[in-house]
């Protein structure tokens, strides 16, 4: 069967535009987009830092920073300048090369994620037809960077923090990928540009359970609250970046926010309809939706306390993974047998299924161990 028959939205209303801007030569396109991507990531990270600090402040009934520049807009710039001027301390027992290389290995993949994210129809660096698979593969490489950081610090507490981080990331990869597969089934293609084009109804409505699982797994992958035990005054240690100072620390800080923006961008593309929207330029819609998803991440950070490490693992393996499998199963059945003409009924049924599953499943599993007899 043609791939078109297997999707929910079988007719592509818009033609796929191959990436070739500004025209005639691929090298111009490549150069332009490289510059745009790097600038975009840096600008969005600064915007993200600003939104987080002001948003966190307003939700805690105080103002955020408002002295540097009008409305505190230059605060990220001030942070960057401060961090650049700090002394670069490397501990004596550290592994020098690995210590130097770790922030680079952690940061580079994050920018590479944006190579396949569409800003507009055809406006992406490379329209890979395995787009989402590329993203999943690349985002795991930055975990290696984190582990290198923990190992090379020569500090057993950093190693502990880095190993906890690795364990959490590996556990949350599975629900993440399974919820992506649900979206891929509904769209019929792995290429991100095609996924956006097939979203006549945004997939957040067609795959509500997938969205929740992806959101939770994404927050856990990037170490944001409520899963941030690796960094926020983590009881004994300060995590894997204890021994870092100066620009290398800034790189890790940047990695955290850049990954948050990257995950927001992926959520926007997969679930919210990417750059689609009426009467504003498409790339502006993309940026607005990304920032809205990031704001929801800030909102959960403000509200929720942290979970413990064993509760984190229990949530991944006992709650999110089975739900992701069931979601996949139901999506597959719907793709096979659901008639093309009634997508809105599928929306209602999927939302009902989500509520039923979450309610039933949450009664069945136990979140973490209790007391151990000593």
């Amino acid at each position: 069967m043609a791939i078109v028959d297997l999707t929910f939205n079988s007719r592509l209303p818009m033609q796929v535009v191959p990436p070739d801007w500004p025209g005639n030569n691929y090298w111009w396109h490549w150069l332009f987009f490289t510059v745009v991507l790097i600038a975009f990531v840096l600008m969005m990270v600064m915007g993200a830092i600003y939104i987080e600090r002001r948003g966190l402040g307003r939700m805690q009934s105080r103002l955020g920073p408002n002295r540097t520049g009008p409305f505190g807009l230059l605060q990220p710039v001030a942070d960057a300048v401060k961090v650049l001027l700090k002394e670069n301390i490397v501990p004596d027992s550290a592994d020098k090369v690995v210590h130097w290389l770790a922030p680079v290995v952690a940061f580079a993949p994050v920018v590479m994620i944006f190579a396949v994210v569409p800003f507009q129809n055809g406006a992406l660096l490379a329209d890979l037809n395995i787009g989402i698979l590329y993203i999943v593969a690349i985002s795991s490489v930055s975990t290696v960077g984190v582990f290198m950081a923990g190992w090379s610090s020569g500090n057993k507490y950093s190693l502990l923090g880095a190993m906890r981080n690795m364990a959490a990331v590996v556990s949350y990869e599975l629900p993440l990928v399974l919820s992506i597969v649900g979206v891929v089934l509904a769209a019929g293609s792995l290429s991100l540009n095609q996924i956006v084009l097939t979203q006549n109804i945004p997939f957040i409505l067609l795959q509500p359970l997938g969205f929740l699982i992806f959101f939770a797994a994404a927050c856990a992958e990037i170490n944001r609250s409520p899963f941030d035990l690796m960094e926020a005054d983590s009881e004994i240690v300060a995590g894997f970046h204890t021994e870092y100072s100066g620009m290398k620390f800034a790189m890790f800080y940047l990695v955290e926010y850049a990954e948050a923006i990257a995950m927001s961008a992926i959520i926007t593309t997969l679930f919210l309809g990417g750059w689609r929207g009426p009467w504003l330029p498409p790339w502006l819609w993309f940026i607005i939706k990304t920032l809205i998803v990031f704001f929801v991440m800030v909102w959960t950070r403000t509200t929720l306390p942290r979970v413990r490490i064993d509760q984190l693992m229990a949530l991944a393996w006992k709650f999110l993974l089975p739900l992701a499998l069931i979601n996949l199963f139901i999506t597959a059945i719907q793709v096979l047998v659901w008639p093309q003409a009634l997508p809105w009924l599928a929306v209602i049924i999927n939302i009902a299924v989500m509520f039923v599953l979450v309610i039933i499943w949450s009664r069945l599993f136990r979140l973490g161990w209790g007391r151990v007899e000593v």
Partner: protein, 168 residues
């Protein structure tokens, strides 16, 4: 530990937080806006009145820290026995106000201002005329109701910040 209530508690928490986004923050931008402190504030420094002080040293006896030093001597110039040195070590002072309470002649006042930090350690010990009341060192109404009436009313958080909420 079961995952009770399937996420409803989290949703409720998030609604509370998002409501705070729309409320007026409980913030005072300090150097531009200054709140009125209490009329009875026990501010940084002690204010002394040379005219009323008789050198009885009740304040020095009442001070738990021993921060007040008082020397009286005969002054042959105008044939009076008067206070020669009245020295307060503001560094030792814990601003408890027991001296103000103890003075039988109402000659001591607590300071009203709270922004009187010094740059040099030597300036913390104040003697004689440095302790008199002046424009930079107003007196507060602690144990002096006649002064308290004239001071501006205190800004209260319960009245100043109103939450934008519908009345039930």
């Amino acid at each position: 530990m079961k995952f009770e209530r399937f996420g409803a508690g989290i949703i409720k928490g998030m609604t509370v937080t998002i409501r705070h986004l729309l409320r007026h923050p409980t913030v005072n931008q300090y150097p531009e806006q200054r709140l009125n402190v209490s009329r009875r504030i026990r501010g940084n420094e002690l204010v002394w009145s040379r005219a009323r002080c008789t050198g009885c040293a009740t304040c020095a006896k009442a001070c738990p820290q021993g921060a007040i030093e008082l020397v009286t001597a005969a002054n042959p110039a105008n044939n009076k026995y008067e206070v020669e040195t009245y020295r307060v070590d503001t560094g030792y002072c814990i601003q408890c106000g027991l001296c103000v309470e103890a003075c039988p002649f109402d000659a001591l006042f607590m300071g009203y201002s709270y922004e009187r930090a010094k740059y040099k350690r030597g300036e913390v010990i104040q003697t004689n005329d440095e302790l008199l009341e002046s424009a930079e060192r107003p007196a507060s109404g602690y144990y002096h109701p006649e002064i308290a009436e004239k001071l501006p009313a205190q800004t209260l958080l319960v009245e100043r910040i109103t939450e934008k909420r519908q009345k039930k």
